[in-house]
Symmetry: C2
Subunit: 314 residues, 2 copies
Amino acid sequence: MRAVTIRDERIVIEEHTDPEPGAGEVQVRVRAAGLNGADMHQRLGRYPAPRGSPQDIPGLELAGEVAALGPGAERFREGDRVMGIVGGGGQAQLAAVHERQLMPVPRALGWLEAGGLPEVFTTAYDALFTQAGLRSGERLLVQGGAGGVGTAAIQLARAVGARASATVRSAELRPRVQELGAHPISPDGFAAHGPFDVILELVGAPNLPGNLEALATMGRIVVIGIGAGAKGELNLGVLMAKRARLFGSTLRPRPLEEKALTARALERSVLPLFDSGNLEVPVAAAFPLDRAAEAYERFAAGNKLGKIVLEIGD
Amino acid sequence: MRAVTIRDERIVIEEHTDPEPGAGEVQVRVRAAGLNGADMHQRLGRYPAPRGSPQDIPGLELAGEVAALGPGAERFREGDRVMGIVGGGGQAQLAAVHERQLMPVPRALGWLEAGGLPEVFTTAYDALFTQAGLRSGERLLVQGGAGGVGTAAIQLARAVGARASATVRSAELRPRVQELGAHPISPDGFAAHGPFDVILELVGAPNLPGNLEALATMGRIVVIGIGAGAKGELNLGVLMAKRARLFGSTLRPRPLEEKALTARALERSVLPLFDSGNLEVPVAAAFPLDRAAEAYERFAAGNKLGKIVLEIGD
């Protein structure tokens, strides 16, 4: 099979041995695979894939058809449309994935949308609800609202009756963010728009003082992106006075059983909302496998609304 | 009635009008009242009492006998031994307290212990269990283990099967901390003793980097004391990688219904352990009401094991 391959920090396409499905695993013929921030870090050697995942093939998510079943696999049949998060190796023509990590693709979604769904909707759902406990009527601020996780979070908040605002650097992307359901605001002076019950931080530590200032009593900040910097000053006095909570979270290092639990939560609480039209997967651009290097450049350039997805053929 | 009174940052004893119990309130003839860090701040004008509490009479906790019942009060009878947290005004001969904030005094406890129990055991219980979710088998670090909240936290951890370590600056106090159930360690280089699942921070921001270093994956830090400083550097990358949580908490500004809930939790889960001998209230020193200024000096001097309590007569 052919796959995106990292060679000396370059993105190339190389031939690899087909992955065989082990016990409880499914071999997926990949049709689409979204790009994520972690791919950029992995390319630069700063975010190695977990043990048991391909080290040189990037890709944290995929969608495709079940091509073969490993011993004991029983959740799906050959030909079923599936999608899911993987530890690595998603950007390839074939991938072996544990069946408990896979979800059925909602009928309303095409391959590109399905390939760009798992990572950002799982991340946003886990951060907003499992971690921060966002509830109807609460006010959410998404720091970095135009990206994949941001657009997912905005829609999820709207779907449960929360009121979202989102910082969007690019003025031209703000109308689209508003359509998705958030009040778009400039990152400059965002703190004046509070108080917020939950803040989803996708940008980094420079926002920390403003986040704390803009937080409501009993507010929660969930940090899942730090591209703009990791270290910032925290005022514990304000944290105490507001009885605030600050959570850090990542999905990738979690054990299989936890990843399976997040997949079940998504199946139950999120996937039905794609078929009912409450949620969509905004795809900013799609690239065929051969042009993966270009897709990486596009992702790194930013200023996009939603996902960059690889389209993968036979 | 006579009461501790704050006059120009000085502690004096003055005559005040007796507080009458309002609807649902109980008039308590106070027998003992513990001192707390908040009293020190209030004395300096940095921590005003919440609305509805006496502004010039300090005191966040008390124990005594029910002297009179306000309209509709029904939980206690005249003469019952009660104790509880109050918004202020605890360091007086009489106090009017809502009956839902009061708890019965365990039989095993004398007045001094009862007067020093509510604030620190409620604070420690709320921080360790309600906030941080400490469970049996987990490792706890108490930053500042010799004080009132620290000694309560150590005992509560031991009582539920958690394993506590505690930083104690004074070498002479360490054997007593060990008797209470914690492995006593020096504050210098504490991070080498990790990983800890829960860290209870009673000292302040200077511990923040070491706390994060010493924290286990999925670990929780609860900040409820910042005497050594409020502002510190936080590495959000470590917070994410460890999927860590940082909570700030205070009891005082909470509404009556939340304070009542913490009182019910204490009645159910903590008070029985005093009668069974699992818990005690270490009292470092007691002072009669007339010597309250001395009690404040003793509290501020630190280097004590447990509570400073005022003994209040008729």
